[in-house]
Assembly symmetry: C2
Homo-oligomer: 233 residues x 2
């Protein structure tokens, strides 16, 4: 390959990385916003999270186009190809995380979800765990830090555990007073969405590992005991 080709490819890659980081920052705002909207039942924040979705989807398409053009034009192999496949996967995981945040916010806006006060602290913990995972995995992408990615991959278990106990508490609320059933059902789906954000963070961790090392994490993804199998997707 000529020097010229190599430099052109690097420029393409940098552009893709920069756009993924911008997209990630937007999705991070969506996740933080969804958490706040849910805990405080704040329709205004919810509305702003929903409004961001259009731009996130546009960015996904822009990244996808750049990735495909770059592969076709530069014919990258080995490590460069990994970098670019990783970018493709990460942009999709980001988009779906933003979508989950949007859907939490739609529920918050359309419904008067009366969350039993006793559940608030654990909901807040779950939301903060999801957000922390997400931030940490983005750091691992920016810094190409495979150890940080491994941390995120291992911490998914923690989210599952908080989720498990929270699901149990919500079920108890429903059983103790049937008037809670409708709003608690909505709440269950919101919690499920938070958990799925954690799954996407774990996917991104796997992509980072693959980009940096060219292989996969060893063993099954750590999972909490499924004491409350309502937690399953």
């Amino acid at each position: 390959l000529s020097n010229h080709t190599v430099i052109a490819f690097d420029v393409d890659l940098q552009a893709i990385r920069a756009e993924i980081i911008s997209m990630a920052q937007l999705v991070e705002q969506q996740i933080a916003g969804a958490a706040a909207a849910l805990v405080n039942r704040d329709a205004e924040i919810a509305g702003s999270v929903i409004a961001m979705d259009v731009r996130v989807n546009e960015m996904l398409h822009e990244i996808e186009t750049k990735v495909v053009e770059t592969v076709a034009r530069r014919q990258p192999f080995a490590v460069d190809l990994r970098e670019i496949i990783g970018a493709f996967h990460i942009s999709h995981d980001l988009e779906r995380s933003g979508d989950l945040a949007k859907n939490i916010c739609k529920r918050v806006m359309m419904l008067d979800i009366a969350i039993p006060e006793t559940l608030i602290p654990n909901i807040q913990s779950l939301a903060m765990l999801a957000l922390r995972c997400f931030r940490r995995v983005l750091d691992s992408y920016v810094e190409r830090d495979e150890a940080k990615a491994a941390d995120v991959w291992n911490s998914d278990k923690e989210i599952d555990e908080v989720q498990n106990s929270l699901f149990g508490e919500v079920l108890v609320c429903m059983m103790s007073d049937p008037r809670n059933i409708t709003s608690c059902t909505h709440l269950l789906f919101c919690l499920k969405n938070l958990e799925r954000m954690g799954d996407h963070a774990t996917n991104i961790a796997e992509s980072v590992r693959f980009m940096v090392k060219g292989d996969r994490f060893i063993g099954d993804r750590p999972k909490a005991n499924e004491a409350h199998p309502a937690v399953m997707t």
Copy 2:
């Protein structure tokens, strides 16, 4: 481009198409199996659906590798590029549909879900709608039939409507007898997974349209009125 290149590219494309069709057939079996396992609470069928997941994931990775290699080697443009991007998206939608089927089966196996008898006919309708959508959209892919794809795209609304009324019925069951709450919660997640399969069928319809016509369906995806917003993702 030389004739040789064009033929080589066609061979690559045919191989990718053939593998997508095999993958789709496997996922179709998973969806049909999940529907049967849920309605009849049949742990044996559930187990066989779960076991198929490994192969489906392998196929996804094989297709992904072929797609990337083909783009890098043949540098396709315009219609060929659309074909290959479409293949990439479709294989991911297939994989996720299979995953949803697997998760329904996990719930069926781990839990003694006692589904209220009155709900069975509507659950069966929903499962059959999802399966029909899925089969139809695969036909549209095989036949490159954009009109059939449009049908599927429009019929997602029907699934949403059945889903809406079913969700209402499940909530009523929960309210009328708190002993139903746990198993009905599991049921809600199973139904949600069926609905999400319908969403993936719609995504595939969009990919087929894009492959055949190079554009997108006009307007918003038809959605039922969200009378029971529990239905939202």
